[in-house]
Subunit: 269 residues, 4 copies
């Protein structure tokens, strides 16, 4: 790979500092790099030959993955987060990881979501989940779910999400959903705090299209924690697997079982 793009949030001085430090080290080895601050409205220059490196926690990784996905680039997560549920890399080993990632990367493909709001022709990206949720505090939304145009259930709830296997240990988990091996070709339909309705996740093939319709109240659409739109009553989102997967560099093994046990310990600290 010809170029390394570090990504970080500027309110994480440790991440920004690390980027500069790594940049110097890479320069010594003849690798060009630059830093993109994720709050910036400008688009960084990325090609399929760029290695996008996420310096931060889960939120940073989700943004970096989105940038990489758009360009067909690889993304390497460097977890500096407290929770670090998604992935963890010790700080001192980061340069070595980046070098390996530019030379001979092991890549794991993760399915991502393609979200279309209403009749819009543009689509949005999500790696973890997309949620249709109440637009205002203190009121439930009513959301009807459809799978390939077949009506499923109607929920009165705080929200309803479609999650990927990657997102299964995130918001889906909080809402009571199952943990899903990240290589599986499935989508998860999980309600959040549903009232007097079936509260189980429904697992369907990632070849299905899931539609969520806001029945009688305005609803917000939130992808990977970012509000991406608003639904008027009667409006829908359509969610399908993105054509291309997210290509995550995995120099280290991702052991679901390890992460589960760790998560349990940290979750209660």
């Amino acid at each position: 790979m010809s170029h390394v793009l570090f990504t970080a949030f500027s309110n994480r001085p440790d991440a920004v500092e690390l980027a500069h430090e790594l940049s110097g080290q890479l320069s010594d080895r003849g690798v060009q790099s630059s830093l993109h601050l994720l709050e910036s409205p400008s688009e960084p220059s990325i090609s399929a030959e760029t290695l996008v490196v996420s310096l931060g926690g889960d939120g940073t990784f989700l943004k970096a993955a989105s940038l990489a996905h758009r360009a067909g680039a690889y993304v390497l997560p460097v977890n500096l987060g407290r929770m670090g549920f998604l992935l963890t890399v010790p700080r001192e080993e980061v340069v070595g990881d980046i070098e390996r990632a530019t030379a001979n990367p092991t890549v794991i493909e993760r399915i991502a979501l393609d979200v279309r709001i209403g009749s819009s022709t543009t689509t949005h990206f999500a790696l973890n989940e997309v949620v249709v949720e109440r637009a205002h505090s203190g009121r439930m939304v009513r959301v009807t779910s459809f799978v390939d145009d077949v009506e499923y259930l109607t929920y009165s709830a705080d929200g309803v999400m479609v999650a990927t296997p990657t997102g299964s240990t995130g918001y889906n988990f909080s809402a009571g959903g199952p943990v899903v091996d990240s290589s599986l070709p499935v989508l998860l339909l999980t309600p959040i705090a549903p009232h007097f309705t079936i509260d189980r996740t429904i697992v369907v093939s990632d070849e299905k299209v899931v539609r969520l319709t806001a029945k009688d109240k305005e609803a917000a659409v939130v992808a990977d924690g970012q509000t991406i739109g608003v639904l008027a009553p009667g409006d829908s989102i359509e969610v399908r697997r993105a054509v291309a997967p997210v290509k995550v560099v995995a120099n280290r093994s991702f052991d679901l079982s390890y992460r589960l046990r760790e998560g349990l310990q940290e979750g209660h600290a």
Copy 2:
């Protein structure tokens, strides 16, 4: 009782119309009445001798109960709601109910909550629940709970609520909490979509004071579905049983078992 005060939301024309109709019928029988629209910023005139009649669904009842509570008045729920989980009264029997309520009411006392935000000296009322929840979409709050100053658990969640027995079949239920007989002297501490933490309701005596502290992010405070304040990181709310109960007129029996079975049927329609 000397006076009947109807309460309704003006976006429920059926409720407003019913108020006028009932007002005429009561006038014929020598009972004075007036209508207070709940969106109005003005304070209605209520004394302990007023019978407050709620015409609408659960939201209307919660507002009417708050008004009645402040004045020590009785509140009679007339449910026009679709869900009608709290209570149901057939339309044609309403005048009879009101007459009985002014003459010889059967009153059920329900505990309510007294909520103090930060170091403020004013308190807020809630009949169902008060929630400390994320102020912004897509991010969890971290909330630490204390019971009589003893630290309990810290949750990463969409929110954490303190609910009354009356509220146990409301948002508490959606969040996975138990159903509690409304006469019991208890408070319910229930997290909403907590991440990797104990997710069970903790039931404590209604003589305890529950404190909820927003750890590291801004949080909203929502009482009975209305935002009543915002917590800066580190700020707390204190929740205790209100000194006086809410006095609900119950001409009809409130059968928890019946309502549970009904709720199940309707919830899935």
Copy 3:
């Protein structure tokens, strides 16, 4: 198909009677049939050319499916059950269904489980789920789970199951597991009433081998509701997808969404 084998439990006189009636009708049309009572210790004669017809509820179907699977035969479910969650066929349309099934069947393939107990070389069949559960009332078992020899979680629980997508709406659902489209290539690892441990289902590929080890107490092994063995402390079962699927004749569409909504209604009747 050359031959129809009706299967029923003799304590269901309606099923036995229906078998005789249908047998007469088929005979008139030149189709040979016989009846196998499922309590019988004898093995019925089945070949890949037999159409096995299950007359009864879910328990009957699970037994019939097991017989059919062994011979590579098709199984047609005729639901006479009250719950009828798995599948429903109106009584008067049964002969027509059988004729179509022998002529030009639509077949749905469902994955089944192959269960090996301890070091035994024989394997057991399960279509819904296999459970390692407490052998005695009133005591939890401790069960450690492994996926392809990687240790996952250890549960103190009433039991731990491996379920198929077909079984997802059965015991797995009762235990809090997700609903899974029956065509998906996955296995579900779901604990039953676990104590202070992660209680979520873990979804893995059906190409994985799941091992469940009873730690310190005797445990029973139950496949599709039948006890098939006992584990001494330290013993394990190994569960994998059976090489051949179960071939279910589906003259009617199986609409998961319909069955969910129906199940909700009936479940609360």
Copy 4:
């Protein structure tokens, strides 16, 4: 108190040995003591003046509490268990605890259950919970619940329990029930792995009588982990608060919040 009765299971040699050691130490201080092995069919001699000391884990304590309750005696838990969820006492401080308990005990009263099976006139004791559960592996029971003769819900489930606040962190917790402060005057009605029914605990006053009826299948009745009877289809148990509470000596504070956090850590070790 005039006499100390140690109780232990003989398959816990450490407990038996400790009893002998403590007995010697107490004898030196002029306190008489004896050891009752809990497997023994003989009844130990206990009066209201006996201090019953439980040496073991939760199972030992439940048995010792039952013996003490019958005689109106105090029970002192000495936890030697791994989990030790109920209570913990460091080994070297046990003699001091016993001395204080005979001189000037701090006593906590815990409600217990009085269970009547069918039309029997004898009643059974339970401190944690009583369960009506499936008598045979692999089949659900159908259980209808009544509170003070009012019909509540009917469950198809592995079982249905009535738990005390003391038992709320035991089997009730595993089954998804809430954690209840042990001083509260309530009973918990909690289903175990219910199928397509409301799965929430129902909390009622401890002045209510709860009846559980086995509908169409035989069911086992299990109190604090011991099978105490069998219900024929149509038979019921009646559960009410025992007239006298269990009197637990608490030299140490019982901090629910501490125990919750500890339990979480240990539960996942």
